[in-house]
């Protein structure tokens, strides 16, 4: 702006250009000075009031562009010093492509639309594909070598995957894909996108922003439960006397006949077999694994977490997710209930089968830990009937506290509750995660 104003003032005051080049030169000098001033003023306003301008446009002169410009300047000055029209011609033959590069990048970036296609939710550590759609709404000019830089953020962290579109004809759109693998669960924000190009010569780079925003929920990584987990659940449930009649194609009534042992319930004697074998035989029922499960996840974390606390918490959530998924996948007759006690209380009641699993996964994805959760709040609201009906598993970082309470309390409402900690020592035998 200052240079432009100086040129105009200088010419108006001294008339130097007019004397040397005539009226045409004066007009050219004043117009150039005015144009520079206006452009400079626009840049000043843009820097002072960014909200007034479209701040998503960017301009960058890469290293090779700077080198090109320096060579041009050297040739120009050399031509003027050496009074060489041919050297000036070489300078002009360099200036033309430079201007063209700038104009081309500017024009190609106009009238572009972008879109993104994401899955709704993915698992942490799972590689998924994101589709970027770029539409060229211009009527006659194709766009070349458009580099679309997406932005994936979570909190203070971000990653910028990119897709290169080689060519998009006018009035058409193209799809490009990039793959992403997110390590942590949570809600990720996608966007805005930045489209840059340097076509055709790579001397000038321009960019523009596309305000296309999306969100993606990443739920904890599902692992695999070990047989020890099943054994853990079955431990206290041998010889169930509460026989449940089951029907249907997939009923899972498990029973076997064995010899009578002292202490067996006489009602379990199988008289027919006993008569045949001439020995007292009893029917033994195994605990059906299709018993309804109530999983309580205590999202408590100490106020001053240790180095391993966040990892333990995440591990616990992964384990809980795995348990839920396996239960829903494997148990067609029993239900799953989940109680997530975090900053907010989330109750999920699933019917038989995998319906509404998405809501549960969303809850696992977004649950936040808290240091203000009192222990009684964890089981608050649960009644005795639920205790009898459900197999209760409590997962907590303060498992010892709950175990002590269970052991020392005679009137616990949940005498059969399994309490598990979130540490690696406790959970590693029960499930494992793929790297």
């Amino acid at each position: 702006m200052v240079l432009g104003l100086t040129l105009v003032v200088f010419e108006m005051w001294s008339g130097r250009v007019y004397n040397q080049l005539g009226s045409a030169g004066r007009v050219a000098a004043i117009l150039s000075g005015t144009a520079f001033s206006v452009w400079g003023l626009k840049e000043v306003i843009a820097s002072l009031f960014p909200s007034w301008t479209k701040s998503s446009d960017s301009f960058l002169l890469p290293v090779e562009g700077w080198a090109y410009l320096i060579i041009m300047c050297v040739l120009f000055i050399g031509a003027l010093i050496g009074r060489s029209n041919l050297l000036l011609m070489v300078f002009a033959s360099m200036a033309g492509p430079f201007i063209m590069n700038g104009w081309f990048t500017f024009t190609m970036l106009r009238r572009l639309n972008g879109g993104r296609s994401l899955p709704e939710r993915v698992m942490a550590g799972e590689t998924f594909t994101t589709t970027i759609i770029l539409e060229n709404r211009k009527s006659w000019l194709a766009v070349w070598l458009m580099r679309v830089l997406d932005s994936v953020t979570k909190g203070n962290s971000y990653i910028k995957p990119e897709v290169m579109f080689v060519r998009i004809p006018p009035r058409e759109s193209r799809q490009g894909h990039y793959q992403l693998r997110l390590h942590e669960r949570g809600r990720y924000r996608f966007g805005p996108m930045t489209v840059t190009t340097r076509f055709p010569l790579g001397l000038v780079q321009r960019g523009t922003g596309l305000d296309v925003n999306d969100e993606l929920l990443v739920y904890p990584r599902v692992g695999t439960l070990t047989p020890k987990w099943r054994k853990l659940l079955q431990y206290s449930f041998e010889l169930v006397t509460d026989v449940q009649t089951q029907s249907g194609l997939f009923h899972d009534e498990m029973s076997r006949i064995r010899e009578y042992r002292a202490g067996d319930d006489p009602r379990m004697i199988h008289w027919k077999t006993s008569a045949r074998t001439n020995e007292l035989m009893v029917r033994e029922y195994e605990e059906s694994r299709d018993r309804d499960l109530l999983l309580i996840v205590d999202c408590w974390q100490p106020e001053t977490p240790t180095l391993t606390s966040p990892d333990e918490f995440e591990r616990g959530l992964c384990f809980a997710t795995t348990v839920c998924m396996e239960h829903l996948r494997g148990s067609r007759e029993s239900s799953l209930s989940v109680r997530l006690v975090g900053q907010t209380l989330v109750k999920w009641q699933g019917d038989k089968g995998e319906s509404h699993i998405d809501q549960l996964l969303d809850a696992f994805a977004e649950v936040m830990s808290s240091s203000q959760i009192p222990p009684e709040a964890v089981v608050e609201g649960l009644d005795d009937q639920q205790s009898r009906q459900f197999r209760v598993v409590l997962l907590s970082a303060r498992a010892e506290k709950f175990r002590d309470e269970l052991n020392h309390s005679t009137e616990s409402r949940f005498p059969e509750m399994q309490v598990l900690g979130m540490s690696a020592e406790e959970l590693s035998p029960l499930f494992y995660q793929a790297k």
């Binding site: 029209n85 011609m89 070489v90 002009a92 979570k154 290169m164 080689v166 390590h183």
Partner: protein, 771 residues
């Protein structure tokens, strides 16, 4: 892709090397072609050989060293060549390395620098064609390079694995993707086409830059000055001339002056026969006299003295009337025995007898007219001697006797004459050669004759070629001992220095030789291509004209004349344009570009004002008349009218397009709204009812999937409402109406409405019961 890039790079580098080699006249840079081809196969494609970075750096240092030796060992021209050679050496060093992005960028930069250096070494027209070709090749190469880099980075990332970027806190891994064109080829016909279009537009923009960049030369720090201070200036018009300048002028057919001859006493013009007899076959028009030679340049030496009085013109019988084209020079020309001159601020220089004019501001002047006064036929016997025995190519140049009388002027002239014996110290070889040619001859005339015979020998030839065989020696020595081929400047310079070497005072004269009569036979036209240099030798108190240039010069000039008339007008115009462009000065730019634009702008503005103020009916009539007369179409007015019409038409088309788009978008929006409102409203209500039960349709679910998944939770409310299978019917109806295009009957609508109401009531009851 990689091969295409390397081949393009090889072509570009080879082209720049060849251009530089041809401009320099030396095959050194041409070796680049061989090295480029060899490295293309062995280094780039086959990958059999490449030089490691350490050795390349060492070679680079050696290149600097060699160039440094060249730089400090020669003249100004050889210093420039040293810089050019350094660029060539560095090109070779980069060629033999394995080429990454950095090496390729270096090669591109060195290539353009070679072209830039070549532009300083030549002004021939072939350079223009080479520059255009180079622009195409370079634009193509850079485009292919960008394509290669962009897709290469992406492909490598895909092969190697994820690229973590963007943050110190790793959120994940990302793999880049590439979306190719439909034919999956990167370099296809479209790419070629777009690169061609870009190059053409670039050249057009470059041409605008070239034409409109003000020629504010800053050489010798004379900013905003247009006078040619040194170097490449027109022979005969400046105080300093460099050997070689003549060849540029001789390719230019621009007019210099027109001469008409008049009998003063009889007050009538010469007839054609008289003019031909007076001027002879190739008249010499004397211009600038230069006395001092150094390092390939002739300069004038100013000796103060009184101007020749013009009173003598009263007794002359012939008046030569000159009309000179604007040359921005103080030099005037004359033929034969000029006694006096009259013209605005014209005068004759003492000692050198040059005709000049004083002019404080010659820039922007049009033609300058002046008259030279002379005598008919042989000179007046009282003033000079006639030597009839001299060979015909001698001409007597007459000097007033008082210059030799021992007057103060005569002594000064003797001093002046004495200076014309000076030979530069570095031209000892030339002196020795002259002495060997002249041998023991003591007569000055015979010395001149012997030297003339020496230059007329078979080993010397006439040529406009400026190639230098040995740039480390003086151009004169290079001419005499190496090339033995050159144009009149070289012959005249050599003659003058050799005469000085054998004790005959000599000086160089530049002007014009030859010309042609106009069709009317009264005007003699002289063009740039008639530029010539010769020698004046001071013998027996007289400056004698000595022209050592072989007769082949006349043949060459005639061929040039014929070429300008024999070739097609287009080719001739092209050559003219090229010559103008190469030598364009500030005043020429103003005259050829700025002033016409200014005139057009002013005329257009005046026309618009007239149109605005004039009677519209009359204007319309004149417009119709303009349309009816095709001759007027091809004029400035026609151009302006065409431009305005095109702009108006484009604006109208654009407005109509926008209007159509607007109407379409409004119509589409309305119809969509209407359709949505009437046909899916019932389904929207159903979804809203379900949302009260906390059952929501996810974006990835179709309507059918949503209803099916909601049946489980809806089981109880549906059975309470007696609508157990109803949602499936509802969704099928939705599909028929929304996508099948069928319309609902009023009974259907009513039934749906009732059922929705039932369901709504049921849900509300449940809600109330729960709360």
């Amino acid at each position: 892709m990689r091969q295409i890039l390397f081949i393009s790079l090889t072509v570009m580098i080879s082209l720049s090397g060849i251009v530089f080699a041809v401009a320099e006249g030396s095959p050194l840079a041409g070796v680049t072609l061989l090295i480029a081809l060899a490295t293309l196969f062995f280094v780039d494609i086959e990958d059999k050989f490449s030089v490691p970075v350490s050795i390349a750096n060492t070679l680079g240092l050696i290149a600097f060293f060699v160039a440094g030796i060249e730089f400090f060992g020669g003249h100004i021209e050889s210093r420039l060549l040293a810089g050019g050679h350094l660029i060539v050496y560095l090109t070779w060093v980069n060629l033999i390395q394995k080429k990454g992005n950095r090496q390729i960028w270096w090669l591109c930069a060195l290539s353009i620098l070679q072209i830039a250096t070549a532009s300083v070494l030549t002004t021939s027209m072939w350079f223009g064609a080479a520059l255009i070709l180079y622009s195409f090749v370079a634009t193509w190469t850079l485009s292919v390079f960008l394509l290669y880099r962009s897709t290469k980075e992406t492909d490598d990332a895909q092969k190697s694995g994820p690229l973590e970027q963007g943050s110190n806190f790793v959120v994940g891994d990302a793999w880049k993707g590439v979306s190719r064109d439909v034919d999956h080829r990167l370099v296809n016909s479209r790419f070629v086409l777009v690169t061609g279009v870009v190059t053409c537009l670039s050249l057009a923009i470059g041409l605008m830059f070239f034409l409109f960049t003000p020629r504010v030369w800053i050489g010798n720090y004379s900013l905003f000055g247009d006078e040619a201070v040194a170097g490449r200036s027109l022979t005969g018009f400046t105080e300093e001339v460099r050997l070689g300048d003549m060849s540029e002028i001789m390719e230019n057919s621009a007019p210099v002056m027109q001469v008409t001859l008049h009998h003063r006493q009889q007050k009538r013009p010469f007839t054609l026969k008289e003019a031909e007899a007076y001027l002879g076959p190739d008249p010499l028009f004397r211009g600038t006299v230069m006395e001092e030679y150094e390092n390939g340049r002739w300069k004038q030496v100013h000796f103060p003295g009184p101007e020749t009085p013009v009173s003598q013109v009263e007794n002359t019988t012939i008046e030569q009337k000159y009309r000179m084209a604007p040359l921005n020079s103080s030099t005037l020309f004359s033929f034969g025995d000029a006694v006096g001159v009259s013209g605005r601020r014209a005068f004759i220089e003492p000692y050198s007898d040059e005709l000049k004019r004083n002019s404080s501001n010659r820039s922007g002047e049009r033609n300058y007219e002046y008259s030279v006064y002379a005598n008919l036929g042989p000179p007046d016997a009282t003033n000079s001697q006639v030597r009839e025995s001299w060979p015909p190519y001698y001409k007597m140049f007459f000097a007033p006797s008082e210059y030799f009388s021992g007057s103060r002027l005569g002594q000064q002239r003797g001093g002046y004459v004495g200076r014309q014996l000076r030979v530069p110290d570095d031209l000892q070889r030339v002196t020795e050669l002259a002495q060997s040619v002249v041998a023991d001859e003591e007569n000055d005339y015979l010395k001149v004759q012997r030297l003339l015979q020496y230059f007329d020998g078979p080993e010397f030839e006439y040529s406009l070629d400026l190639s230098v065989t040995d740039a480390s020696v003086d151009p004169l020595e290079d001419f005499l001992f190496n090339r033995k081929s050159g144009h009149c400047e070289y012959y005249a310079s050599a003659m003058a220095i050799m005469l000085r070497g054998v004790g005959v005072p000599s000086r160089l004269v530049s002007g014009f030789k030859g010309g042609s009569f106009d069709s009317d036979g009264l005007t003699f036209r002289v063009q740039q291509l008639h530029a010539h240099s010769w020698v004046e030798a001071f013998i027996d108190g007289t400056w004698l004209t000595v022209d050592p240039t072989p007769a082949a010069r006349e043949v060459a000039v005639q061929e040039l004349e014929d070429s300008f008339f024999g070739l097609s007008e287009l080719w001739s115009n092209i050559r003219q344009i090229w010559s103008t462009g190469v030598r364009m000065s500030k005043s020429q730019q103003q005259e050829l570009i700025y002033t016409p634009l200014q005139t057009v702008a002013v005329q257009s503005w005046d026309s618009l004002k007239d149109f605005a103020q004039s009677d519209k009916t009359a204007t319309l009539r004149s417009f119709v008349a303009f349309l009816r007369s095709p001759r007027q179409w091809f004029s400035v007015t026609g151009g302006i009218v065409a431009f305005v019409l095109m702009v108006l038409l484009s604006a109208i088309v654009w407005c109509v397009k926008k209007l159509i788009q607007l109407i379409r978008s409004i119509s589409n929006a309305r119809s969509m709204k209407r359709r949505h409102r009437s046909e899916v409203q019932f389904f929207d209500r159903f979804v809203q009812i379900l949302s009260k039960l906390d059952i929501h349709q996810s974006p990835s679910q179709t309507a059918r999937e949503f209803v099916k998944s909601s049946l489980v939770e809806l089981k109880q409310p549906l059975s309470d409402a007696g609508l157990s299978e109803w949602p499936e019917e509802l969704v099928e109806l939705f599909y028929q109406v929304r996508f099948g295009g069928s319309t609902m009957s009023p009974q259907q609508s009513q039934r749906i409405d009732q059922e929705l109401k039932k369901l709504q009531d049921c849900v509300d009851q449940r809600e109330n019961a729960q709360s």
